[in-house]
């Protein structure tokens, strides 16, 4: 069960790196979504994976009778999903606001905070973004 998941994580990371290398910020965000999914799957896989064995202890005994799934990574993943959901919502709104204010989605064209310096004159060149 671990091997297909590991392959899946690899594919997800490859796709997300491809997307994040794009200049378009929306693509970057999609890449980030894939990357955090890959991270969550990694944690999920790093815990034990078992089919049809919930981590429940039978009434009257003190330990589970068979090898069961580890519930802790699943709790971690749940926390991480919630957090990344919040961050992503913020990032989307931020990109939208930046698009409205700066008129572009190209990360390289956003030079308001760091204007390009013209090497000849040493003055910031006023190229319209």
């Amino acid at each position: 069960m671990e091997v297909p998941l590991a392959v899946l994580v690899g594919v997800l990371i490859a796709a997300s790196v491809y997307l994040m290398l794009a200049r378009n910020l929306v693509k970057f965000l999609f890449g980030l979504v894939l990357l955090s999914t890959a991270a969550n799957l990694t944690i999920f896989t790093a815990g034990r994976l078992t089919l049809f064995e919930p981590p429940l202890i039978p009434y009257g005994s003190e330990a589970p009778s068979t090898v069961v799934a580890n519930p802790l990574p699943q709790a971690l993943v749940l926390t991480a999903i919630v957090i990344s959901f919040g961050l992503l919502a913020f990032a989307l709104v931020l990109v939208f606001r930046a698009y409205r204010a700066l008129g572009t989605l190209d990360g390289d064209a956003m030079r308001v905070a760091e204007p390009e310096i013209n090497p000849a004159s040493g003055e910031p060149s006023r190229r319209e973004a």
């Binding site: 991270a39 990574p73 961050l87 606001r97 990360g107």
Partner: protein, 500 residues
């Protein structure tokens, strides 16, 4: 019984944040609430520090779950002093923000976000659990996002994009690293990880995970070549915000590196700490060269944060008791100096109307007091005796020479020299040369606002002078803190207690 003491530096800012949130519509009420909250945080952190100094590591098991099963809060000397510095910076910025932050930003919840940021920073310093550390990073991050783009200037949105994008990548890398480390060891408690890692025979995989941690915390700490978000964004928000960011945020990354690479990842010091050494030197050099190329007050200071981070990482990379001592001392000195310089840049901007060096000038003549106050942190940053930065650099360079790291020592010295260059550039342009457009505008500062703007600068500058003139107690302190890092047994015993 002491457990609430460790939790207080987290609870106080959270409680203040809630109060400030509900008062945000009431004019200055939320600012005063924020100020009182910072005062309370300062008291709480001093009490915690005294307790840690007298009794050793103070530990609290949240919810009564024994370690390593529950979430542990633990304060050793490093954590305690970092929390104290958080409180000092928080207080200085809260005073400054009384005037600096405008009403619209207060209505949007500046003070609530600011307090949540302080809670997140304190939480990151105090937690003894790796996943909990991740959560505190997120708390810190989301509030810093809010603060950074509050006001929504074009430059702020632009800087915010870069800040948000790179920091989100860092959190995902951190999460992956934590997941893999958990898969390898089956524990998330830092003290328990210290023991679990020793029993492990898969050192290669562990080193891979260690490098993932270096990347994740390296982005937060703004080391070479991962620092580009910092100079892109730190000069855009209101001065109060950049001051608290400059003082605290990158240092959380540095602290996390200290914690992980003294307590957990010590299996392959030659590789991991060798890598950190290379990173440290490159960070120092690129930071200071970047600063030399800038012509804007806050941009110069931003690049200097990067170069100073290099010194701290250098102390960790050398990994001797003296080097760690120097690094701890450096962090203490740096937070105070850096926050102060950003506040001074704000004062200079209020008086000249600009952050651009070329358009600024004349402050030495019109504001000799401010000029003197600038010289204290500026010279301290560059490492002039007898200010705090001199001792910090002296200790680190001596530590490098002791282990024969001559290149590192040379780099540290040259970077110190180049720092003087940048500081004299600011001095010559902003203070020394006459104001380029005739007389300095008389706008400056209304009398009622004077105290709030000057008090934090004077407070931080006097701290710098005190550390500089009386370094002895601070060095003794840093030595004990460094010893706790080198010999983590007390920490481990304190956290795991009966479980050992």
């Amino acid at each position: 019984m002491l457990s609430w003491l460790v939790a207080l530096p987290i609870l106080v800012p959270f409680a203040t944040a809630i109060i400030a949130f509900f008062l945000r519509g009431g004019g200055r009420k939320s600012a005063w609430a924020s100020l009182v909250g910072c005062g309370a945080l300062l008291v709480a952190s001093i009490v915690l520090l005294v307790e840690v100094w007298q009794r050793g590591v103070v530990v609290a098991q949240m919810g009564g779950w024994p370690a390593p099963f529950g979430i542990t809060l633990a304060a050793d000397l490093l954590s305690a002093v970092m929390v104290l510095l958080t409180a000092i910076t928080g207080l200085a910025v809260a005073i400054y923000a009384l005037v600096d932050v405008d009403e619209a930003q207060v209505r949007f919840g500046f003070h609530a976000l600011f307090q949540v940021l302080l809670a997140g920073v304190s939480g990151a310093f105090l937690t003894g659990d790796l996943f909990n550390l991740y959560v505190w990073f997120e708390v810190m991050l989301i509030s810093s996002f809010g603060l950074l783009v509050l006001g929504q200037g074009k430059a702020q949105l632009d800087g915010g994009i870069k800040y948000v994008a790179l920091n989100l990548v860092s959190t995902v890398v951190l999460l992956t690293a934590i997941g893999l480390l958990y898969g390898l060891t089956g524990t998330l408690n830092l003290a328990d990880l210290h023991l679990a890692v020793m029993k492990l025979d898969n050192d290669g995989l562990l080193t891979v995970i260690a490098v993932l941690f270096i990347i994740a915390f390296g982005i937060k700490a703004a080391v070479f070549p991962l620092f580009f978000w910092l100079p892109a964004s730190y000069h855009t928000p209101p001065v109060a915000v950049s001051a608290v960011f400059a003082g605290l945020l990158t240092k959380v990354g540095v602290y996390a590196l200290f914690r992980m690479f003294t307590l957990v990842f010590t299996q392959d010091v030659a590789f991991t700490h060798g890598l950190l050494l290379a990173i440290a030197m490159l960070t120092m050099i690129t930071g200071v060269l970047g600063a030399a190329a800038q012509n804007e007050f806050r941009k110069i200071l931003s690049f200097h944060i990067v170069s100073q981070i290099g010194y701290m990482v250098l102390g960790l990379a050398l990994f001797t008791p003296l080097a760690l001592l120097g690094a701890v001392f450096y962090v203490v000195h740096h937070i105070i100096v850096k926050a102060n310089l950003f506040l001074i840049s704000g004062l200079a901007q209020r008086m000249t109307g600009t952050f651009e060096l070329a358009e600024s000038g004349g402050l030495y003549k019109s504001q000799p007091m401010l000029a003197a106050l600038f010289l204290v942190p500026a010279f301290s940053l560059a490492g002039f005796p007898p200010l705090s930065g001199f001792w910090a650099k002296f200790l680190l360079i001596k530590a490098s020479l002791d282990v024969g790291a001559y290149i590192a020592a040379a780099v540290a010295l040259v970077v110190g020299l180049l720092t003087v260059f940048s500081m004299t550039k600011i001095w010559a342009e902003v203070f020394w040369k006459p104001y380029p457009r005739g007389d300095l505008p008389a706008m400056a500062i209304r009398p009622g606002e004077r105290l709030a703007l000057w008090a934090p600068v004077v407070l931080l500058a006097s701290l710098t002078i005190v550390i500089g003139l009386m370094p002895e107690p601070f060095i003794v302190f840093a030595e004990r803190a460094a010893n706790q890092l080198v010999n983590p047994d007390a920490y481990v015993k304190g956290v795991l207690g009966g479980a050992l």
